[in-house]
Amino acid sequence: MKVRYFPGCTLKTKAKDLDRYARLCAEELGVTLEEIENWQCCGGVFTTATDEIATKLSSVRALMDARDHDAPLVTVCSACHNVIKQTNHAMQNDADFAKHVNLYLGKDGQYYGEAKAIHYLELLRDVIGFDTIRGKVKNPLAGKKIAAYYGCLLLRPSQTMQMDDPENPTVMEDLIRALGGEPVVYAQRNECCGGYAVLEDAAIAKKNSGKVMTDAASHGADMIVTACPLCRYNLEKNGTGEIPVVYLTELLAEALGVKEDAHDAQ
């Protein structure tokens, strides 16, 4: 099976492991992530103002590509996922916004939200299935206590993301179980790490990321797993340093036995 893939800016630079292992694991599970041509950065955050049009065109163009290939659009980065899903939702539900976007698109064609955008976790859960993944595990993560960190972008706004229960999510915990690990549930798992405010005021990132890491560690976690490069950065740079932070795809690659021995950390 083939799906269209939007890697995003950070997966090509600072978060290469998130990208590389997403592709390798998907192949191992029978899905090819086909990178769309000439994709442009999603912008990192969705601007909620109703009159912001141009900042959402890169997402619309990626969605048009997926529609034209009759395949879902998959993202791994939590931020790309959030921006593209919110844009698609606006194209489907806000006729005025869709009209303005289509005026910009002009001869490139028209779009009204026909494509389906999904996160890599949804690909694993809904398309491949956790039972299939469980059957492919070569190195079970036995004895590892793993804290899934959702942060804000994967789950909210929940009516638009439609991914999981925003207050009691289970998708990452279920994946960790399928890989043979033991999920650690803790209160801060769906609270914000501080995000982009690290550039405005690093103390905000320190406070938020510190709370998340201390909470995970005090519940006995050996590590935190995330799908978001900015969450990882904030937790590592501005957290308490109690436990390591890894990408979701690294964990998956390790369990599936496709992780390369020598790899750069970022």
Binding site: C9, T47, D51, V198
Partner: protein, 129 residues
Amino acid sequence: MTHSDRLKEQILRTSGVNPLKCMRCGKCSATCPSYDEMEYHPHQFVYMVETGDIEPLMKSESLYKCLTCFACVDRCPRSVEPAKLVEAVRLAVIREKGGNRLHTDDIPAKLDDDMPQQALVSALRKYSK
């Protein structure tokens, strides 16, 4: 139409929010991760926009403390979506000439080797036009 009426109309239009839906339960502020850093809290944005008291919000540092984490949006029992008001007021400020909060020239001093591009593009989108 007074200046403050015009501002209010602009904020309501760009945010798409109806502050009259608010029942003053305060859950938005209770759940906000930046509550301690804010001079005006999310519930105050809602009633100050409703009463047209927008200029103090435009001058406040609170505009730059919102993380757009959507906690207030998702947990509001009345679907008021306070974060969209914060965004609309911030845009009213940074869309003005000279209104940028973050300048590209400021960025090199804030960089380190690990900082993801995602942080830069997000901050530029939130803090400058």
